[in-house]
């Protein structure tokens, strides 16, 4: 006020100041509103915003599909934008009332996003256009289905298998063409492939269950367990107990302190210091995508790919499957949703999907695979991944809204076992049953709360 009083020597000046303040406020209001408005070229076409997570060669492959779609018709133009942490941005944008028209996410987000009303069901569109779930390989269509309808369509899928370094097999006196077929063979070969220096430090390992640690929640099903039976949490079922005991057997056999020192030198996955690329680990469980990284970071590596070794109580030819997906966020005008579906349907066509999957060097989620796709694919084991994804041993994460939390708890239990952490209650390292009982208790409480929350929401929606 004193600032103004010193300078406002006349009514005219004060009026000017007031007008300036009003102008300032108006500018602020316009500035704030600018973010709420979609600006589109006035060319009579519908311009769709498509958010994706892929960058580099994966993004370029999708951009080719987007360009094909834009050329294929003259009503809709899709603009693709790629960035990281996309799921959080989609949540924030949708909660803020300004979602993208199409979003490329991952399979685990389908159920939580469907339960929260963040995405629309695609079932009615599929039905209208006569596209049946058997258009896709069963496991990928199943992953996208929740409460009887598909909420997403698969884009690039993944299946996992055992990669082994043939040169390291030769050096260890093993047959380079004969991968382990059972878990016992895996353990025995891993032992032969493990080497120490003169001071007893590990310099090479045959296999390390936690390198990479991406597939840990699948270990239970690999050993014949299931985390969820459709109604109840079953984390401490025998399959998971057996799996965790197996993980711990490596910490005991090779000494966890030596393993820590050895693994402390590993670099990032996408780098030449990746222990598999650097020849520090001879066998890893990995996805179909690994081939493209081998080409980049370990060119010339002589490697083979085989199914996960059979466990005593697990299925034959086990594989963990996942998929990238396309979803249409809720809250858009019907005309935009329809246009978004046009694009999603185009991507799901065989030609577009094979262009995308070839570009990303993955297999296709579609049930039909063209000879051209197989002939042109750079991954020489692509047949194996297709067969595994269609086989009886395929497993995918359960369709439950709190799977991300459950996943983190299973990982925590594996870490307890792996580091031989002491159970304060017994004074001895955690047993698998003890570690899994913690998961069971925590997840039962979380599951109950999740169910209560859904029931309460339904009840509130009913009274509205």
């Amino acid at each position: 006020m004193s600032f103004l009083a010193d300078r406002c020597t006349s009514d005219v000046r004060c009026r000017k100041s007031g007008l300036m303040a009003i102008a300032g406020l108006t500018s602020l209001a316009l500035f704030l509103c600018a973010g709420c408005v979609r600006s589109e070229p006035d060319d009579g076409k519908i311009h769709l915003t498509y958010w994706e997570k892929w960058e580099r060669f994966e993004g370029e492959a999708m951009q080719r599909v987007v360009d094909d779609f834009n050329r294929s018709q003259d009503r809709i133009v899709v603009h693709m934008h790629a960035f990281g942490a996309i799921e959080r941005k989609v949540v924030a944008a949708t909660a803020g009332g300004n979602p993208p028209d199409v979003a490329g996410l991952w399979m685990p987000y389908i159920v939580p996003f469907a339960e929260s009303g963040l995405i629309i069901p695609l079932g009615p569109y599929l039905e209208r256009d006569g596209i049946r779930p058997d258009h896709w390989t069963k496991v990928y269509a199943d992953m996208c289905t929740y409460e009887g309808t598909m909420w997403a369509v698969p884009t690039t899928p993944s299946a996992t298998a055992l990669y082994w370094n043939k040169a390291m097999f030769r050096e260890a006196g093993l047959d380079p063409e004969r991968p382990p077929r059972t878990i016992a063979e895996l353990d025995a070969m891993a032992e032969k492939l493990t080497r120490y220096d003169s001071e007893g430090r590990i310099v090479q390992m045959g296999f390390l269950p936690t390198e990479p640690d991406w597939f840990i929640p699948a270990f239970g099903p690999w050993f014949g367990g299931q985390p969820f039976d459709g109604q109840n949490i079953t984390a401490n079922a025998p399959g998971y107990v057996e799996a965790l005991e197996w993980v711990q057997s490596y910490s005991r056999k090779y000494d966890i302190d030596r393993i820590k020192r050895f693994s402390g030198g590993f670099g990032n996955f996408a780098s030449p210091q990746n222990p598999f690329f650097a020849g520090k680990i001879a066998m890893v469980l990995h996805g179909v995508w690994l081939h493209s990284y081998i080409v980049q970071y370990a060119p010339g590596m002589d490697y083979g790919v085989a199914p996960w070794p059979k466990t005593p109580h697990g299925p034959e030819n086990f594989t963990l499957a996942e998929t990238d997906i396309l979803v249409i966020p809720a809250g858009l005008p019907k005309v935009r949703q329809d246009a978004a579906w046009e694009f999603v349907r185009f991507v799901s066509s065989q030609r577009a999907m094979e262009t995308l999957c070839l570009g990303q060097q993955k297999h296709t989620p579609l049930a039909r695979v063209s000879d051209e796709f197989l002939a042109n694919h750079p991954h020489r084991y692509i047949h194996l991944f297709i067969d595994l994804s269609k086989g009886p041993g395929v497993w995918h994460a359960p369709r439950m809204g709190m799977w991300a939390r459950y996943d983190s708890e299973i990982r925590a239990a594996v870490e307890r076992m792996r580091y031989l952490q002491v159970n304060p209650a017994t004074g001895r390292p955690f047993t698998a049953a003890e570690a899994l009982d913690i998961v069971q208790t925590r997840m039962e409480a979380n599951w109950q709360r999740h169910q209560d929350s859904l029931a309460l929401r339904k009840q509130q929606e009913g009274t509205r």
Partner: protein, 320 residues
């Protein structure tokens, strides 16, 4: 109030209006809203549902919540004293009339300008268990030490042998928090500058009087420098305490696996409070639960600040 006064008031309010609006919309409203949401089941995508104290009751039964809290306290106990003592030590060195003061000041301050993510990625390599410079340096010290101890043990006829090896830092749950505390010391240049400014404000006549009374370097430090610097120390302790309770970025990069994240690896040893809060809010869409956690953190920080304030009240000396 005259007509002119009323105009002044109106214009003043109009000028202050945008700021007040911003404060209300972007600060006051979210704070109060988060308090309301802490009593709700809220996923950000649907309207919040009032559930009373359920979030707070669940938090009291949540073992991971207490694990994240204890990780944060342990880290705070390591990082805060280490950072402040290092900053004070460097400031005292620089204040001792060293030549090339601006160069040293710049060198020590430089790490503060490195983005947090870049510095975390850099420290990943420093702490690398096999190739890390820190393990290598410790190894060169420990190797002769092992030799000396073992030869001494052999000399006295003992069959015992020792093999001290550098820690594997980020691959070992016992060493991951100390590693992050060491890393936090690297960015202490900002605090050092504050201390240096405080030291340059200590009246020289106090040092002269102390010297005349026969006080040596240590007594001058203890009886003149530290009391005069006590308001600055008090300020940095409070700010450091608030900062360390919200430690996030480096832990997200270093303990989050190859893509960063809230895993708190290894074995949840770096799962700090804010990481768990972030996971609840953004990964598991439990925004109500996360809001309850945020308010508990606020209360804890407030209590710690009040304790620090009460303890410091009797020891802080304000000159003039």
């Amino acid at each position: 109030m005259t007509r002119l006064d009323r105009r002044h008031l109106r214009n003043g309010l109009l000028f202050a209006g945008p700021w007040l609006l911003g404060l209300g919309a972007f600060v006051a409203f979210p704070i109060l809203r988060s308090l309301y949401l802490s009593f709700c089941d809220y996923s950000t995508l649907q309207p919040p549902m009032w559930i009373g104290l359920q979030n707070y009751r669940d938090l009291l039964k949540d073992e991971v919540f207490f694990k994240s809290l204890s990780n944060t306290f342990i880290f705070a106990g390591l990082a805060l004293p280490a950072s402040i003592l290092t900053a004070l030590f460097l400031a005292l060195l620089l204040n001792s009339g060293v030549r090339g003061l601006p160069i040293f000041r710049t060198i020590f301050y430089l790490p503060c300008l490195v983005p947090a993510v870049a510095s975390a990625l850099l420290w990943l390599w420093v702490f690398n268990g096999q190739y890390g410079i820190l393990s290598h340096a410790l190894g060169t010290v420990l190797e002769p030490l092992n030799g000396f101890v073992n030869s001494t043990l052999a000399g006295i006829g003992s069959g015992t042998r020792v093999h001290l090896a550098p820690p594997v830092w980020l691959s070992d749950p016992r060493w991951s928090k100390p590693a992050l505390a060491i890393m936090s010391v690297w960015g202490t240049g900002g605090t050092m500058i504050v201390f240096l400014a405080g030291l340059q404000n200590v009246p020289t006549e106090l040092y002269e009087a102390a010297e005349i009374d026969g006080a040596g370097w240590w007594r001058r430090l203890y009886h003149v420098t530290l009391p005069c610097l006590s308001p600055v120390i008090y300020f940095t302790v409070i700010m450091g305490l608030i900062g360390v309770m919200q430690f996030f970025t480096a832990a997200y990069i270093i303990g989050g696996g190859p893509m960063g994240g809230t895993a708190g690896m290894p074995a949840r040893s770096t799962l700090f409070y804010t990481l768990y809060l972030w996971a609840q809010a953004t990964e598991w869409l439990q925004m109500g639960y996360a809001c309850a956690m945020a308010w508990i953190l606020f209360v804890i920080t407030l209590i710690l600040t009040l304790v620090a304030h009460g303890t410091a009240q009797r020891r802080v000396t304000y000159l003039g």
